[in-house]
Assembly symmetry: C2
Homo-oligomer: 459 residues x 2
């Protein structure tokens, strides 16, 4: 249940976003608004302070609350890196083991990985769903739930995809052990070692690891910080190179956070269809739009069955459940088989618990809440980066993000682009972490110019 | 808790196995034994009937109960196939999809897969352990348990391995999503596509699938129905071919069910050590010896760190939990990384539940019970096969097996070897299933001579 002050804050948030209050505008006085809305002064003050914490308002002494100038307009945005590259094998990705080790250290802040903060997850609802599933499906959950996976979960996923404008038969879905496994299986279903796959630049480092482990050559396509993969650049690239598949995160790609405009999505789908190149659409962030408006899926824009969609609940509900899926289109049989060979089945109990959370509406209610939490965390984090990071740091304005935002417990991947663009495929491995206790920036495998970054002061 | 008649039956079972009662011997009369042991006639009768059901005793009218002639000595055993083969790529393994589809059909009996029957699993204890873990680790279980996996589970596995004579540091264990994933990661850690790997012949079909999916060439080494892989044949083969690794199931290999003698294990380890060839030891059946005596691990017989051990709880506790592990020796870092790239982490909750079941002693108590159940099921199933399968059918005498045994709900893989041996790598794909309702044998991909197998009568 939302409290009154949260309701009011959300309403004001919407008014600011829609432009009813412009940057620099003064909001109604606390007493005045309380009287209008029949709310106590304390309630209105709480709402204003919440918006202030979110970076939307600023308080000016003896004058009131004003809408802050938008970060998007003020701060330097990452540049569009119009690099031209040839396909290349990905190397050196095992450096990520340092990140994993750091993730198990509670004193270490992760800037390089998109791990939801525990306090943003509906852990009680998940606990209850797991206990219900364990009780109601005692015998079933002790047994294999063979590929393609639990029918009730596949039905719920198909229902949600239909709501996102993409009709899929539940029989054309395969449940996986999380989104990374989905990506790995999808790539193996359509490529063999040595093939060329077009990817966004910069791209999610997990994708780079999968490509390296499969011996697939990556062809980087420049991607715009606001609109994503440049379709013209992609067309030039596939004219020149034997591209077998194209992996894109159209909705809120990590690390840039953009949402590809619908027109671009349509162009992307048509272009790949016309060349018979498979599109692997990674949609793990699709449910997290700050606007609450679920962007459409590329898979829903074609009838050719040439798109494979990968997704999971790891960024929304819980990474520990390890539930992902593949809508495999015409590759269904191959994908089912590869999943079977890889690890026979996804654990039964988490599948049944997630189906329950989808069906009961808990998931949808959680989404409404967590989107606001993430928006707030992004605002706070952006503020911190602007304050403490070196001059010239460029920060994107993501439309979605995973970020705890409190006391530097940041889990969103900001793209810190220095004056000269990073060009190598492994660029995203140069992840940043900083340590709140020692207030020191720790840069993993960073280029030389970063090593002198000044120590961070802890607030 | 065991009832009195079960205790008596177990005691008599041991006496028969140890030879105190020989085949053809008459057991003491029911009244006489009841008086000796201070048990009711009904209790003794129940014990005798249980042993009769297990195929150990036969009742002769008005004469009493006699020890049956041993199946092992009476029935034809599978032959030792001394085939010489060259390394070859494995093909056609996606036929297994037919088996998966059949597995989801409750009316279908699986003879081709080693899936524990639900009634043999400790589903209540698992349910309770899952609920405890969900409650006590609410926040933790919603989050990633990064590679190498939950420390408490790794500690318990290391403790159990030490009891099996193999000291391993918990930091050298990686938790996986079941045993098949462990096998797949272990192979990827030590080979690349095109490499040659020596395997048992016949071998577990899941291994053949992994080899096919990784593009690894299989080199079949003849394996004796009672003693396993022929070490001399292996030595000849590695003199001739560039073998990179050797995958063996020394304890109760599927499908033959043998346990490799300790001397052979030592020779195997020494031979591979001397050539610097990695031994991948698959131990998923090691805890299920009918004798109750846990056979030693090859990994405990060398200090070279040249052995990788793969195992899981899928054949003992529950396949639905999908908990397996790798003791990676000197490949720890590579294995951790490959696990991470594959699917980031194994689900958290099942790891904590299995650690609990190990630590509380529930697992060990369950093993004592399930070993007897499996022994009984094997005896019943062997009887059925002898009665209903064609003349010339050869049936191994496994020392361990997974088999429900009731009303044909068989899940153990019998090796049905026809008059002429099957030589192809894909032989085990020719799995058999039969359908209890229609009483018809269904043979997947069987050779022509099997197609005319007579319909089975249902008891």
């Amino acid at each position: 249940m939302e409290t009154r002050y949260q309701q009011l804050a959300n309403e004001l948030h919407d008014l600011i976003r829609q432009g009813s209050f412009q940057p620099g505008d003064r909001l109604p006085g606390v007493r005045q608004l309380g009287k209008q809305r029949n709310l106590s002064i304390a309630t209105v003050m709480s709402a204003y302070r919440l918006l202030q914490d979110q970076g939307l308002l600023e308080s000016r002494e003896r004058s009131g609350f004003y809408v802050r100038a938008r970060h998007n307009e003020q701060r330097p945005q990452p540049r569009f890196l119009n690099s031209t590259t040839a396909p290349a094998l990905v190397t050196g990705q095992d450096m990520v083991l340092q990140l994993i080790k750091a993730a198990n250290n509670p004193a270490m802040v992760q800037l390089g990985t998109a791990i939801p903060a525990p306090e943003f997850l509906p852990t009680r609802a998940i606990e209850q769903a797991l206990i219900r599933a364990a009780r109601h499906h005692r015998v079933r959950s002790a047994n294999y739930e063979f590929s393609p996976g639990a029918p009730e979960l596949r039905r719920q996923i198909a229902r949600r995809m239909a709501e996102a404008g993409c009709g899929v038969n539940p029989d054309n879905l395969v449940i996986t052990n999380g989104g990374q496994e989905a990506l790995s299986i999808a790539l193996r279903a359509v490529t063999k070692p040595g093939d060329v796959v077009a990817i966004e630049s910069p791209a999610f480092y997990g994708l780079l690891q999968v490509l390296e482990s499969l011996g697939i050559e990556a062809l980087e396509i420049p991607s715009h910080p606001q609109t994503g993969m440049a379709i013209d650049a992609l067309e030039l690239a596939i004219n020149r190179w034997p591209v077998k598949a194209c992996v894109v995160v159209p909705n809120f790609s990590n690390p840039q956070g953009y949402c590809m405009p619908v027109d671009n999505k349509q162009r992307l789908v048509q272009l790949l269809d016309s060349r018979n190149i498979v599109l692997i659409e990674d949609d793990i962030y699709g449910d997290l739009a700050f606007s609450g408006h679920r962007p459409p899926l590329c898979m829903g824009m074609t009838k050719t069955n040439n798109v494979i969609l990968c997704s999971s609940v790891s960024k929304t509900l819980s990474p520990g459940l390890r539930i992902g899926w593949i809508a495999a289109g015409r590759f269904q049989q191959r994908v089912e088989y590869l999943k079977y060979v890889l690890n026979v089945a996804t654990p039964t109990l988490p599948q049944l618990a997630v189906a329950d959370l989808f069906e009961s509406g808990v998931y949808e209610r959680h989404l409404r809440k967590v989107r606001r939490n993430y928006a707030q965390a992004i605002a706070q984090m952006t503020q911190r980066l602007l304050e403490y990071f070196p001059e010239g740091t460029r920060i994107p304005a993501p439309k979605v993000a995973l970020c705890s935002g409190w006391n530097y417990r940041i889990t969103w991947t900001p793209l810190i682009s220095p004056a000269k663009p990073w060009r190598k495929v492994s660029v995203l491995h140069r992840a940043l972490s900083f340590h709140p206790a020692s207030s020191t920036v720790i840069l993993f495998g960073c280029p030389a110019r970063w090593c002198g970054a000044r120590a961070l002061k802890k607030r």
